[in-house]
């Protein structure tokens, strides 16, 4: 939304915006209540989501938390929390462009440098299943595309 607002204010240079240019504001107004509810639910469920995810990944493949001989569980947890919080605000403001610009482009190069793409791929794929247990179907429909964006950005070389 912020990126779209910024673009709108730059493009509307001394004229009135057209209906189609204002369409995104109508959509935001219509979904804002749902977005705010989803955001609050994610905030409340953050610890449970990450804990469930960690357990599921550990059961699936413990090497997902290893980088060579190093245990990177704490690093994974820190990164996952950070991405989750950025994702939540991106969903609230309907602004995946800002998520990309401020976090994902940078993080993609870091994950590649550490060879963590396989772990990221699993993380953001399984996270979609887990958030569905905490959110209603319409809420998950808003949030899962953001998690999928994370998976595609961080998980695949």
């Amino acid at each position: 939304m912020l990126s779209q607002l910024q673009r709108l204010s730059q493009e509307i240079d001394g004229r009135y915006a057209t209906d189609s240019e204002l369409q995104f504001l109508t959509e935001i107004a219509q979904t804002y209540h749902l977005r705010a509810q989803t955001y609050q639910k994610l905030q409340a469920a953050e610890a449970a989501i990450v804990q469930q995810l960690q357990a599921k990944m550990q059961a699936l493949d413990p090497t997902l938390f290893r980088s060579g001989s190093e245990d990177v569980t704490a690093k994974w947890k820190r990164d996952t929390l950070r991405v989750l919080r950025y994702s939540a605000i991106a969903m609230l403001l309907n602004d995946p462009d800002t998520l990309r610009d401020r976090l994902l482009f940078w993080m993609q190069t870091v994950m590649k440098a550490f060879g963590a793409q396989r772990s990221c791929n699993v993380t953001y794929e399984l996270m979609q299943d887990i958030v569905k247990q905490h959110l209603t179907a319409p809420q998950a429909k808003l949030f899962c595309p953001i998690l999928e964006l994370n998976r595609r950005s961080l998980g695949i070389s």
Binding site: D101, R102, F105, W106, M107, T109, V110, K112, A113, F114
Partner: protein, 223 residues
């Protein structure tokens, strides 16, 4: 273009993902300055500036323009290596010698990418043989000059040579093997010891392309 000045953003100095346009650059309309996250003063330039620099130098020194740009790049790279070492240690609380090498290199390049020097990809597959390749996408110089049928990114080759020489504390040279200005989709640089770069330069003047040169280097040829 940058020069070091006071660090602008002390609000969250340990934040690492700070390369978004509005976050990385601090615009001060009163002073008329643009200072980046690491405290470097930046100057915005147009493509005309780059054309003026390259063509002006060509007019002044003729064929020596390429070597001059390379030397400017080397000095820039060496200075930037020291500057990088200092901000990296402040931001990450560790020496550059203790960091994962690929992470270190990406961290060095991020401010340059944010400043418009293009994205890069480092290929360290041949590191043990004493050379490596760097692919550069959206070179500011090549993009500006367009298809002129020859490599033009001497400034970048110098930058890589200067930076990596300081980083590994061993004299390294660099040559651009293929360039966007030769109609290629991206620029490719070879970084290594003097003997290998001299060999690559020789093969290039004999008409070898990037792929031929890669093949000959991997086969261990030195002319």
């Amino acid at each position: 273009m940058t020069t070091a000045t006071a660090r602008p953003n002390l609000r969250n100095p340990k934040k690492h993902n700070h390369y978004g346009f509005r976050e990385f650059f601090q615009f001060d309309p009163d002073k008329g300055t643009i200072v980046d996250w690491n405290g470097s003063q930046n100057i915005l330039t147009t493509e005309d500036f780059i054309i003026g620099l390259v063509e002006g130098l060509q007019d002044e020194v003729g064929d020596a323009a390429a070597a001059t740009m390379y030397t400017i790049g080397c000095e820039w790279g060496q200075k930037d290596a020291f500057f990088f070492e200092s901000w990296f240690e402040k931001e990450y609380d560790r020496s550059i010698r203790q960091a994962n090498l690929m992470f270190l290199l990406e961290t060095w390049w991020w401010p340059l990418a944010a400043q418009g020097w293009g994205r890069w990809e480092v290929d360290m597959g041949d590191r043990k043989q004493g050379f490596m390749f760097i692919n550069l996408f959206d070179s500011a110089v090549a993009r500006t000059l367009g298809d002129v049928g020859k490599p033009v990114c001497y400034l970048y080759a110098g930058l890589f040579s200067g930076f990596f020489t300081e980083l590994v504390r061993k004299q390294l040279s660099c040559i651009e093997l293929q360039c966007y200005s030769m109609g290629e989709t991206y620029c490719k640089f070879l970084l290594g010891g003097r003997d290998r770069i001299d060999a690559a330069t020789f093969w290039q003047t004999e008409g070898a392309n990037a792929r031929d040169i890669e093949k000959r280097l991997r086969a261990g040829e030195l002319r």
